[in-house]
């Protein structure tokens, strides 16, 4: 599934300016950065409740397809600014990570 297809769902909102469309190849959920760094893979959709600009640094280094900020965690404006600069797809949702993965599972067949 592409990030653009994933976003065809009004429970999800892109907070960055434009979609940098990418294929979602897998998923990783985690809020401990050194675990994410060594386990999330290129193309993964990454679910987290972290919202600091370091999230963007990791997303860029790992080349994840998008970052889902779950449970309406408030996103710092610096983070959005940096995500725009680095063309990282930053998406917010009320859902928790389990519900996000369920959607991916169901819709990906």
């Amino acid at each position: 599934m592409l990030v653009s297809e994933f976003l065809n769902d009004d429970r999800f909102e892109l907070v960055t300016d434009t979609i940098n469309d990418k294929l979602i190849k897998g998923a990783y959920c985690g809020d401990l950065l050194s675990w994410v760094m060594s386990h999330a893979k290129k193309g993964d959709l990454w679910c987290t409740v972290l919202t600091h600009a370091n999230v963007v640094a990791i997303a860029t280094l790992l080349e994840v397809s998008c970052v889902i900020i779950c449970e309406s965690a408030p996103i710092e404006s610096e983070t959005i600014k940096k995500a725009n600069q680095e063309k990282v797809n930053l998406i917010k949702t009320k859902l928790n990570s389990v519900e996000v993965i369920k959607k991916l599972w169901v819709e990906n067949g």
């Binding site: 050194s34 760094m37 060594s38 290129k42 370091n54 640094a57 990791i58 280094l61």
Partner: protein
Amino acid sequence: MDITYDFEVYANDYQNAGNASSEIKKYLMQIGFTTKFIRKIVICAYEAEMNIVIHSLGGKLTITIDNKKIILTSTDKGPGIKDLDLALSEGYSTATEAVREMGFGAGMGLPNMKKNCKFFEIDSSSKGTIVKLSWEIKDETFS
């Protein structure tokens, strides 16, 4: 012949944290190493960079490449690590509550570095910590 690049890393600079690792990654991609090989080096660079930002008074990351190996060195100005064995064990962290809220402090940085390189050396005193990691360059590390 070898080529060396230095990247300054500042204490507590969370806004620019990751930039040095990002530059190192770009450089490795230009050389044409495989994604898998680059990933290992980038994991180490990022963990080393964050340790300088979080735990030290500032320092630098240095990458040296010749035709046989890549050496990544993290050097800082102190305060050093009191108990190296403890610091190297999984889950040990002295990160403050504020730093943990940003997602750091799992105590997995040094163990991850050790796992992702071929040779690992660490030396620390109150004057500073030096972590030296290296990888062998082989035909299969090029894509």
